[in-house]
Amino acid sequence: MVYISSTNIVTSLGFTTTENIEKISQGISGITILDDKKMVPETVAVSIVNNELLEQRFVEISNNTNFTRFEKFVILSVSDALKQTKIDIRDSRTILIISTTKGNIDLLDDKMKEKYHENRLHLWKSAQITADFFMHPNRPLIISNACISGGLALITAKRLIDSGMYDNAVVVGADILSEFTLSGFIAFKAVSSQACRPFDAARDGMTPGEGAGTLILTKFEQFSTVEKIALIGGGNSNDANHISGPSRTGAELSWAINIAMNEAGMTPANIDMISAHGTATLFNDESEGKAICLSNLETVPVSAIKSYIGHTFAAAGIIETIVAFESIKRNEVYTNLGYENHGIPNNINIRKEKRLIPLKTVVKTASGFGGVNAALILSKSQEYKEKFEIHKPKLNITKNVIIRASHASVNGKNIFLHDNYSDFADFSKSLYKYLNISYPKFYKMDNLSKIAFLASEILLNETNFKQKYNPEDIAIILSNGSSSSDTDAKYFETIKNRADYFPAPSVFVYTLANVMVGEISIRHGIKGENCVFISEKFDPEFLKNYTEILFRMGRAKAAIIGRVDYDYPHAGHEAVLYFIEKLENIDEKTIFDTQNLKSIYFN
């Protein structure tokens, strides 16, 4: 069992879980109207953490003035959660997991560049700095998967504990609201001028927010809270439909919910509340309603809390899980602020007013750019048993592809060499032409997605994967060092000067590394588990362990794994992909182990 030991929430409503829940329970929202022309020219509603209060709280913990705003969010949140538990973050059996979409993105600004080394923009760098603050002995795990980052971090933590890799996990999600993110979502016409209204007929967009949330998880019952609430199921899927728009049918989110219920040993009759993603964009809420009905949960009370604290991006999945945890403790489905008239085609059980009902088991959902979905189950029921295959499956590296510099190779043999290599644009175009495919969307991709797309194209060719596997049975697990830094810089150029201010939505959409996974999924119709882990260097040990967990849980029957980077660590680019399958008879040379992953990567 993976129990919740302690929590923290940092948002516009306060700096602790209690401060936040007191306000939410009273129906008080932290959303304000932002009229700051220095930030964005438009007037929009946002949820912002007050800077003076942030500084006041932070000096109580540290007088080091060198931390960035994002790092302060993480440190404040984790510190407060640690105060309420006996679990030691300095214990090597505890893993720190950090989820964020954009980390220190405000450091792109010229003024900030003077103060901080450019490395600080890398998610692994800021994660290491916060881990060092807590004297955490392990390398922190970083999950950057758009708006499901937080939810996926919790699911990952549960799996790492269930599999015996760790005993405890400190899971933190954080994102700051910056000119960068705000302008991007405004260019997407996704931001409301008023506080957002999830599932309401008059909803006209989301409310961008910021904050952090921390959940400390443990396998030890004695460290759980008196209610003994545990995380008992988790599912993750990809729409394979569009990189920014949600699924038209909701089938993939529904699949993630069903998988999570199945792991938890629950049926729809056991579910007492749904903590929805509810961003209040036209399409998200509609698609989510479809998913809820497809999973036969239409009679289950729905709670959507983004009208209190906005969309806190990577923090959202964690903060909303904590709010759901508090709901179970108090048997309260909080007021759905902003909801007046039903605004989606499906009849789900949502009401404005607060409801006091006995709550035992809750489903939390999330969706995001790149077509990603996550669902997790929180329960105080004690009937759960882990579903883990004890025996490690026999896994094989069926095929590998490497694209580096001016060449591409398959299983160590060169298949393509670009003679007069001048730049990546030229190289990627000639490799695309060489592959003799017609996929005009390729030209719209950013460089990171292009190299991931080309490598997956070569990898999957002649593998017969469509005949052998269902779309949900193929996982895509990628590791990456630079996140989307190349595209981040390009997008920032479009908003840097007010005299030439034209935020480009088609660039902004690629400022998330997991969109490359979305592109591969769309191209090949792959809908299974998918995640991007950020690490400074190639980490074969973790990739191997995590992939093995997915196979042991029955979540993958095949997997595309590897490392994809653009303009990193130096000016280069690389995609090293492996196709992993279960086989009865395996040649030692291709057995799926750390040694073989390494020797292919460093060939």
Partner: protein, 83 residues
């Protein structure tokens, strides 16, 4: 009008990365979305940016786009009407 249509085609090819396409390949009266050029929702957002960047036309209501962005011709007519 002819010049405007030609310029629009060039700007659209550039803004939407329609590599391998030349202005003469695009039929000014054919639908831009779904069939025709096969543009999607992100392209529609880029067209809104294009209208503001090159023609100073601000589109507050994205729903207006459906009619205006039907074809290159409807876009050109709209730009002319705003002059």
């Amino acid at each position: 009008m002819e010049d405007l249509i030609h310029n629009l085609k060039k700007q659209i090819i550039e803004a939407l990365n329609l590599e391998d396409m030349k202005p003469e390949d695009i039929d000014a009266e054919a639908p831009l979305f779904n069939e025709g050029l096969g543009l999607d929702s992100i392209d529609a957002l880029e067209l809104i940016v294009l209208m503001e960047k090159h023609y100073g036309i601000k589109m507050e209501n994205p729903n207006d786009g459906k009619k205006l962005f039907y074809s290159i011709k409807t876009m050109a007519e709209y730009i002319n009407s705003k002059k």
